[in-house]
Amino acid sequence: MRTILLGLLTLVGLSAQNTVVIQNGIIHTVTKGTITGSVVIVNGKITEVGEKVMTPAGAKIVDASGKHVIPGIIDCHTHIAVDAINEGSVSVSSMVGVDDVVNNERMDIYRALAGGVTTANVLHGSANAIGGRNVVLKMRWGKDADGLVFKEAKPGLKMALGENPKRQGMQTTGFGAQAGQQNLRYPGTRMGVEDVIREAFTNAKEYQKEWKDYEAKKARGEMALPPRRDLQLETLVEVLEGKRLVHAHCYRADEILMLLRVSQEFGFKIATLQHVLEGYKVAKEIAAAGVGASTFSDWWSYKVEAYDAIPYNAAVLQKKGVLVSLNSDDAGGAELMRRLNTEAGKIMKYGGVTEDEALAMITINPAKQLGIDQYVGSIEAGKQADLVIYDKDPLSIFSKVEKVFIDGQQYFDRDGDMSARPRKEAEKKGLLEKEKETERRNAPQTRRPS
């Protein structure tokens, strides 16, 4: 009932107020410098940014005097808002996708929003060499699953190298180990991971050819049975044809080079290397391959392949010409996701990037990596109005998110959240008391021994 009411309110709000002006803020456009001025939003899109703007009549005014405005943060690697992360039963699970299991009621969406994240790349887990389809979501809290999807985003596929995909083939811990050795999942080594990827794309090429042969036969007017549609291979063919981005989980320099070689051999492109903690060792090679990197600032040593890491990784990669973003890898809790701004701040300390370069790592760079930079990632006229208002400099640990707008609509308001708490607390207390009362009334009359 409450959601219906909320929905009605937003509808009314939309029709009456589709023009918003955020006034007198310190505006970090990321791509075009920082100014003190205003942003005009009409029908969800930014129409004007500048020191002096024309405020349309009847526009809703948001006073941002002394406050900082940045483009909505884009998290290039998360596992939030979904009811399943891994289909770990097979080494190639490209037939599945997290787009099928989006759960719009998961609280992590709201938490991400409260941390200034407006767009999240939700990826399949890393349990297998070739994982499932991704989905890019906007944190439109309150909308149904379909309403969260960033429709313009390019579809993607998860791949994974190293410990996670090979661990499943180990006799002690592997998938199906309890059911005996014959049921272990291949592979159990890094060599095997490479082999699985090669075999999968070899099969995909064969499948692609089967369809081409069939189309040719049909064009000649011959009667022929079409090939069986195979969802697993269909996704891989999309990768081969450049219609689907690859986001590859990796840590070690040697496996990174392996993947670059394999992808070049099979003629597909890797969009991003994810985690990529040893990226600084092979930054030149990554840059030459035109592959992006999405990493952490200073999070490592959580498993054997993640020890040889340095906080300068992002800066080194950037300086060698790699497109770099920072991500949270959050699932469920949305903890790191709420402070990606300070993650970017750390890269200024470790590596000395500029403020704009640091902010770019959580805004325009991930937007480019996801193929959505023409829509979001900076504050420019023509882009979707995904904006965050901070009370202080966004790269400072003392700053707080005050308001978050997506498509020009306010989805988070710190004051609103705080002031609604006593009412929610009272509602909860009311329900608890109601329940206790009912229980007392329905309790069987028991006689105590005297």
């Binding site: 289909e87 039963s89 299991v101």
Partner: protein
């Protein structure tokens, strides 16, 4: 000794109606008649002839030679329908193979501890789409008789092993033979999104959904290949017979699980993709699904085991607002859905005794559910969902003589069933058993909707 007598009585109930001679012509005279399809007849007569309702009305005549029931103080309702049940199916789990597609008669090799892992959709994991409840239902199954105690004459019964359990059947709860009980042998295909009963693929919710999609692609491909082969057996290779795909192709509708709005959105979308009509089962949050259900025209079977606080829980544990709200609002689901005009029926899933369905609905009635809406969910709506409303679900001339005759009212604090009629044959409700047997005990565990996983 007493126990043995009790068992014998039960057996007797199960095998034969209580009269030595089954009358072919019965009239219930001067009773209150809740027709469901029309207005309540405060005082009228129902005439049953050869298993069919021959006449009903305030002035329907009692034909010569009819056995007459004095209906004074009695109310006649259409026989109640459990719209998502396992009644009539043997309670021991049916032995089905983990990977049984491609016409395989797979079974575990002796000495082998676990069946081979399913490595992809080709292994048809957890797929028993060829299983028909109609082939498995037994008229001697104990719950067939026990169901009479709740006023139930009909159950829509589904085999529920694996991801695709098989075809449900509309089953009358009584019959001289098991086959005589079947009203409709294909009520729809039971599907679950919880991986169980096999090892390997798929082991996640998204894997299951991807599997369903591939299964339907394969079924349609199989159909096309068969058609092409029939046209040109010389040039088109003969498709291999596949019972899993045959089972998918033969169904009219699928039953998909949806506890709340999140699953509903997923399942309605899946139904559109598979191009098949969908009935949602296991619905517990119906109170916040009305608008979308109405919009998509999706019927649902409500789970009416209302959530309650566990009796012996940690007293210091405070539930989340979401949980508290759910417990508070769950019983309002029928009210909200009835108001919105969504088609809904109810299920015995998770309840101990058949009559507990009535108790659950009574709670909703106390909260504002019109009694007529409750009765409709138990009768005509269920019949409509499964396409048997031309034959059952209301007291109308020409419909099947499935009736429940109650002293007073169906929703009285203490339900007193005078008699029930199944296909025109009279049964008396069984005595209350010492222990109320499970609605879905034993092998047919109550199904759960999408367990959350990380």
């Amino acid at each position: 000794m007493r126990q043995r007598i009790f068992v014998l009585t039960l057996l007797a109930c199960a095998f034969i109606p209580l009269q030595a001679e089954v009358p072919s012509l019965v009239a219930i005279q001067d009773a209150r008649i809740v027709t469901v399809s029309g207005a309540v007849i405060e005082k009228g007569t129902v005439v049953l002839k050869d298993g069919i309702i021959a006449d009903v009305g305030p002035s329907a005549a009692v034909p010569a030679g009819a056995w007459v029931v004095d209906g004074k103080g009695l109310t006649v309702y259409p026989g109640l329908i459990d719209a998502f049940s396992t009644w009539g199916l043997p309670e021991a789990p049916v032995q089905v193979s983990a990977a049984g597609g491609r016409g395989a008669q797979a079974s575990a090799t002796p000495g082998q501890t676990a069946p081979p892992r399913s490595r992809g959709p080709e292994d048809r994991p957890g797929t028993n789409s060829w299983v028909m409840a109609a082939d498995l239902v037994k008229n001697t199954e104990r719950r067939v008789t026990l169901a009479h105690g709740g006023g139930f004459t009909t159950a829509v019964t589904f085999p529920r092993q694996g991801l695709v359990g098989g075809h449900g059947a509309v089953v009358n709860l009584g019959g001289e033979t098991s086959g005589a009980m079947i009203v409709e042998p294909d009520a729809g295909l039971y599907m679950s999104t919880t991986p169980s009963g096999y090892l390997g693929y798929p082991n996640s919710l998204m894997g299951v959904l991807a599997y369903f999609r591939q299964l339907w692609i394969d079924a349609n491909y199989y159909k096309m290949a068969k058609e092409m082969y029939a046209k040109s057996p010389q040039t088109i290779p003969r498709p291999a017979y596949d019972r899993a795909l045959e089972g998918v192709l033969s169904t009219k509708r699928v039953l998909l699980p949806a506890a709340g709005p999140v699953q509903m959105e997923r399942m309605v979308k899946l139904g559109k993709e598979l191009q098949t009509s969908v009935v949602l089962w296991g619905v517990t949050e119906g109170y916040r699904m009305a608008d979308e259900l109405k919009k998509s025209g999706t019927p649902v079977v409500l789970n009416v085991k209302w959530p309650t606080r566990e009796r012996d829980r940690d007293p210091d544990l405070i539930d989340t607002m979401k949980v508290l709200e759910h417990r508070d609002k769950a019983p309002t689901a029928p009210i909200v859905l009835a108001k919105a005009g969504v088609k809904f029926a109810v299920s015995s899933d998770g309840l101990d005794a058949p009559k507990d369905i009535l108790k659950a609905l009574k709670k909703s009635i106390d909260m504002g559910l019109p009694k007529e809406a409750a009765i409709r969910a138990l009768t005509l709506s269920a019949a409509e969902i499964y396409g048997v409303d031309q034959r059952m679900g209301s007291i109308d001339k020409g419909k099947m003589a499935n009736l429940v005759v109650v002293k007073g009212d169906l929703f009285d604090e203490r339900l007193t069933i005078a008699m029930i009629f199944v296909d025109g044959v009279k049964y008396l409700p069984p005595p209350d058993p010492p222990q109320t047997p499970g609605g879905n005990a034993g092998g047919n565990r109550p199904s759960t909707v999408d367990q959350e996983e990380n």
